[in-house]
């Protein structure tokens, strides 16, 4: 995953809030991944238009955190989901 990549959730992968558990999940074929706040924040930004770099900058500003640290978290998280075909790159 590079800062220039533009990522998106492919069809068949979507966020879902379970009211019974009061938690968010990323649903995909045969997969349900429980999301923490960071996961929700990152995935909510994927729009298939902005680059990973732009998303990191936005999150750094919103959470008043160093961009380098966020960049690392975002790249690790998205790379893993990309490997599992739950995130695609344009």
């Amino acid at each position: 995953m590079t800062p220039d990549n533009v990522t998106y959730l492919p069809r068949g992968v979507r966020l879902h809030r379970c009211g019974v558990r009061n938690e968010w999940f990323l649903l995909a074929p045969e997969r349900a991944m429980r999301l923490d706040e960071i996961g929700i924040a990152i995935l909510s930004e994927l729009d298939g238009a902005r680059s990973v770099r732009d998303i990191v900058a936005g999150l750094a500003e919103r959470y008043a955190a160093p961009a380098e640290m966020i960049a690392n978290d975002v790249a690790t998280f998205l790379s893993e989901l990309h490997r599992r075909r739950m995130v695609e790159v344009q």
Binding site: G12, H16, P29, A32, R85
Partner: protein
């Protein structure tokens, strides 16, 4: 008494009708007739109940779900609840216009079965001429409508040696995911185990082929347990993650649970899904660890394997409350293994086709 977990998945066997006659089918040998199937309205109510229970995935399966003319309504019913809808189909009997209505209704994913990578073998195994060609066409619809496609290949002695071709075919069809699932020996498959049981060498080779496959397609490999050290945590543990609803509305802890005599199963026509899941006797009987005999009870893996498969203990030992004989710690393990070897070497190729 263990706490009752929030379930993840509902397998809705909306019909037992199916044009294919696969000898590895895990449906029971006594199939539910069309006249006994639940109505559209009852299924839709059931999906709402499933959402209320915390379920996340609804698998529309069968039999062949496309045998029901209300398939798009069923998909719409799942979509309305926000739950993830998965159509598990053979492709045979599914018309493009019906599929298009399912997509429009919000279908999330399609899992398409294949029996082999060539028409001759596939149609012989499926017991339906022309089935293979139909599947290729259906795979094309799925990808052209932009839906994620999983190809599901149930493997056994008679198709395992062509696993590389099966993987290549799934790639060629544009599958995002491939499931290579060893046959589960329940229902019709149990009848056919002398024609289906793989040899240990085939199993070993298959594992290596999957590991080395590479590429972007996700491959999920469901290993067999006959030649393994530890049993499979069937259903991830009885009454922990999922449930199956039969075409007539009976709620089961696993697809094959009706093979266990003495368990009382309840129907959604009599009681709510929530009550059956939480308080139903069939679910409570083997949920958690309280029911376990030794060697499970004191085993450090008791909450990993959950005692293995109850139906397998029933099928091989006549005792559903026994440790799964697939476990190397079962006193019956070596006998179980040598019986499996016997089936693998039976030299029988002819099938008893599903009715």
């Amino acid at each position: 008494m263990s706490a009752v977990p929030v379930p993840l998945a509902l397998l809705a066997e909306v019909t037992h009708r199916c044009p294919l006659r696969c000898p590895y089918c895990s449906n029971p040998t006594s199939l539910v007739k069309r006249s006994a199937e639940l109505s559209t309205a009852t299924w839709l109510d059931l999906f709402r109940q499933a959402a209320g229970l915390g379920i996340l995935h609804v698998h529309l399966s069968g039999g062949e779900p496309a045998a029901r003319s209300d398939l798009p309504e069923l998909v719409a019913g799942v979509a309305e609840t926000g739950l993830y809808s998965n159509l598990i189909t053979s492709g045979v009997g599914l018309r493009e216009s019906v599929f298009a209505r399912c997509v429009e209704a919000g279908l999330d994913h399609v899992q398409l079965s294949i029996q082999a990578a060539d028409a001759g073998t596939a149609d012989r195994i499926g017991g339906y001429r022309g089935g293979f060609a139909t599947k290729l066409e259906v795979a094309g619809w799925v990808t052209s409508y932009g839906l994620p496609l999983t190809v599901n290949a149930v493997v056994h002695r008679q198709n395992l040696d062509r696993l590389p071709e099966i993987i290549a075919l799934a790639r060629q069809l544009g599958a995002r995911r491939l499931e290579v699932a060893h046959t589960q020996y329940h229902g019709w498959a149990l009848l056919n185990r002398d024609a289906l049981m793989p040899t240990p060498e085939q199993v070993e080779r298959a594992r290596a082929i999957v590991e080395e496959a590479g590429g972007r397609m996700v491959i999920d490999y469901v290993p067999p347990d006959h030649f393994a050290t530890w049993p499979k945590a069937c259903m991830g543990g009885w009454g922990r993650y999922g449930m199956t609803v039969t075409p007539e509305g009976v709620v089961l802890p696993c697809q094959a649970a009706e093979s266990i005599p003495g368990l009382e199963f309840e129907s959604v026509t009599d009681r709510s899904l929530s009550e059956i899941w939480r308080n139903g006797l069939a679910f409570a009987t083997y949920r958690g660890t309280d029911w376990m005999p030794e060697p499970c009870r004191s085993c450090e893996r008791r909450e990993i394997d959950w005692g293995g498969c109850r139906c397998q203990a029933m099928a091989y030992l006549g005792n559903p409350g026994a440790t799964d004989p697939a476990c190397s710690r079962s006193p019956h393990h070596s006998q179980f293994r040598s019986r499996a070897l016997g089936f693998a070497e039976a030299g029988v190729d002819s099938f008893t086709y599903r009715g």
